[in-house]
Amino acid sequence: MVAELGNFALVLALCLALAQSVLPLLGARLGDARLMRSARSLAAGQFVFLSLSLAVLAWAFVAGDFTVRYVAGHSSLEQPLIYRLTAVWGGHEGSLLLWVFLLGAWGAAVAGFSQSLPREMLARVLAVLGMVGVGFIAFTLFTSNPFERIVPGPGEGRGMNPLLQDPGMILHPPLLYMGYVGTAVVFAFAMAALLGGRLDPAWARWSRPWTTLAWVFLTLGIAVGAWWAYYELGWGGWWFWDPVENASFLPWLTATALLHSLAVTEKRGGFKVWTLLLAIVTFALTVLGAFIVRSGVITSVHAFATDPERGVFLLGLLTLTLFGSLTVYAWRAPRVGLGGGFAWCSRESLLLANNVLLTVACVAVFIGTLYPLALDALGLGKISVGPPYFDAVFAPLMLPLLLLVGLGPAVAWKQANPGEAFRQLRWVLLISVVAGGLWPLSLGAWHPLTALSLMLACWIVLTALLDIRKRLGSARQPLVARLRKAMRPSFLGMHLAHGGLALVVVAIAMVNTYEVERDVRLAPGQSASAAGYDFTLQRMERIRGPNWEADQAVVEVAREGRPVARLTPQRRYYDTHAEMPMNQASLDRAPTRDVYVSLGERLDGGAWSFRLYYKPYMAWMWCGGLLLALGGLLAAGDKRYRLAASRAARLMPGPATGQPREVASR
């Protein structure tokens, strides 16, 4: 009966979401405070029922209720408890339930933390979130219900795909989905602004922390996914430009553009129309991502198991989202003002260039991802677009962007003196060129593109340091005051995030150029070397885990005779998937290099095949990802935005009539 309870809770959540998408809007229209207030309780109620629903599914997994089809398909009794829990989102239906649960959580958070927003604004934001909720809860209930029964249930479940029985599974999907769903909040703010005709700088301040937070989760989700793929897939790749990966990268690119465009909207009142469009597009791209991943349309060779009904439903959702929002946009957008003017050498113009590059990059990746589908649909042939294409296209677009990352914060708003900017930055420029040019020599061969990337990474870090130093000001003021001024979270957050980007750039440039990979054959006692490291196979052993058996190799790694690490790569055979051996690579991580060993097949004569990797600077990538997220978190937590919101509530309640208020346009 418990599964039915989950189903029932989901139905109730759908009903509340329906009410939430209608009543507050009506209230805002009629100026009825009670109806507007209902949004908050409805959002809270929706969250409660979605939590209950998710809890029920989790309980079904813990209890091993195999009469629930989804549970039987994704867990087995001997699966460790933690992986029975993560199996909740180990498949399509459950991951969708997690998605709507997180949507409910964001909705409740907005309702709880934005009490200070003008009530019309909050009512509209929550109403739009309610509509998104209706779409996705209905999708879950009607096409992908995780509570569906099979009677009689099997005695034992099929077990979760062994690849997913990994700590990465605990973190990656919830983080990524938090990001995806967060873009719905950004979207809701944009739609509320359009519906209310209220697109003033205050709006930009309110939506900025939410946007930043959504971006933080998206960043973390992607970074953790890359980190997981890196050690789990056993070939040390972290990004493959796979359509499914691109589906998460596209909204990240537009969200990044949005963050920067919002800065202009907030500080200078400019780019309003563009900011709104970016907010809409970012959310639409997450829905498109869901379509790509869940309809099987792109990887059509594998469309076998996917249900065309799901694809049609998601396409319907996407259509509603896009046409609904773009119609409102076309109707309202022209009424908003242009904001202040600026010279060609100004922070605005550089941020505009940033947005142009990010958008071009996003569209290029978008085209590359969907091009095979387009050709196929039009009957023009079947092609693949993969890493060689994306690498060739993406890098040239990113290099100028990296230059801008360092330049932007150093240039003043409105109008800057280019000569002055150059005078300030020339030493930094020189040092970056020299340092970036010499750095590759520490690893051997010199490649121009690698050196250029490293120069740009140095450039970003050094300009940031210079900017912070400038903020610290002259020594005449007391240090504490100067620190307080300079260490303002949003300012520091920006530079941290930029520094994180620089680290990621270093890692990508280094590992792409200097990575070493070797296939070797080793019998116990034999050794092989790669990139100056000696790998000696001590012995092979057979070990038993909770629900798997494995061949494990004990490999000693040494450099110039000194032991470095003892690695134990495994080849695992899960009880439920014995025909599908899994590589469990083993890594030794150090600040400037990873040594990575994968165990291959048993060869004749007691030998085994191994793949040895030397991966320089990989740690920098993960540190960079963390810094990006940390920077975003700092900026989102800046007191400024919270104060702005609470002040706004007291000082300027929205128009009481609820009629759209027009902002003067020029």
């Binding site: 349309v297 046409f323 387009a374």
Partner: protein, 192 residues
């Protein structure tokens, strides 16, 4: 201004239309550029007798099917009754026994029907690459000249046979003058 706002709407409509078309796409339609090309050459042992070397010439001579199968492939097993019907109906079927073990394959054929006229044994998938095989089962239609005229990736179905394969075979047979076909048959039978 109006036009600028219309552009996103039109672009969106186009994108959605494309995605919809993509949904309706038959995902099994993998590319088969070999259609229209001569059967690729190969030289493999016969399944029944390792001493006999078969080449593509053994598949050529009349309109015929070439089926790629293996004992580990359950779909192949389920499509075999259809192949039997075709074989009984007088359509020659040649085969690659793909990535299989000879003993297992022979045992399997000895306890069940054998629709195949010639079976080339391809234990490591060498001819598989030459013939552009994706996976088992796959079925080709060769015309009398040995040109590949059709390829099916995945199992044959009765519907597919009625709609596509049998009409094609009829047409190809009509292309080959009857007398010439007889002559070739006679030539093939004579040495054996």
């Amino acid at each position: 201004m109006k036009l600028r706002l219309l552009i996103p709407l039109v672009a969106t409509a186009a994108l959605l239309g494309l995605l919809f078309l993509g949904l309706g796409q038959n995902s099994r339609d993998l590319p088969s550029p070999l259609v229209g090309k001569p059967a690729p050459p190969f030289a493999l042992e016969a399944l029944e007798d390792a001493e006999v070397i078969l080449t593509e010439q053994d598949f050529i001579g009349e309109v015929a099917l070439v089926n790629v199968w293996a004992t580990w492939c359950s779909t192949c097993r389920s499509e075999k009754p259809l192949l039997m019907e075709l074989a009984r109906g007088g359509i020659p079927i040649h085969a690659f026994n793909y990535r299989d073990e000879r003993d297992a394959a022979l045992r399997y054929l000895s306890v069940s029907d054998n629709p195949y006229r010639t079976i080339a044994y391809d234990p490591v998938g060498d001819a598989g690459i030459d013939w552009g095989v994706y996976a088992t089962p796959e079925t080709y239609v060769l015309d009398a000249e040995g040109v590949i005229r059709y390829k099916r990736i995945g199992p044959l179905t009765r519907q597919l046979l009625l709609d596509e394969v049998l009409p094609l075979i009829e047409r190809l047979r009509a292309e080959t003058p009857r007398a010439e076909r007889r002559a070739r048959q006679a030539k093939r039978i004579a040495p054996s």
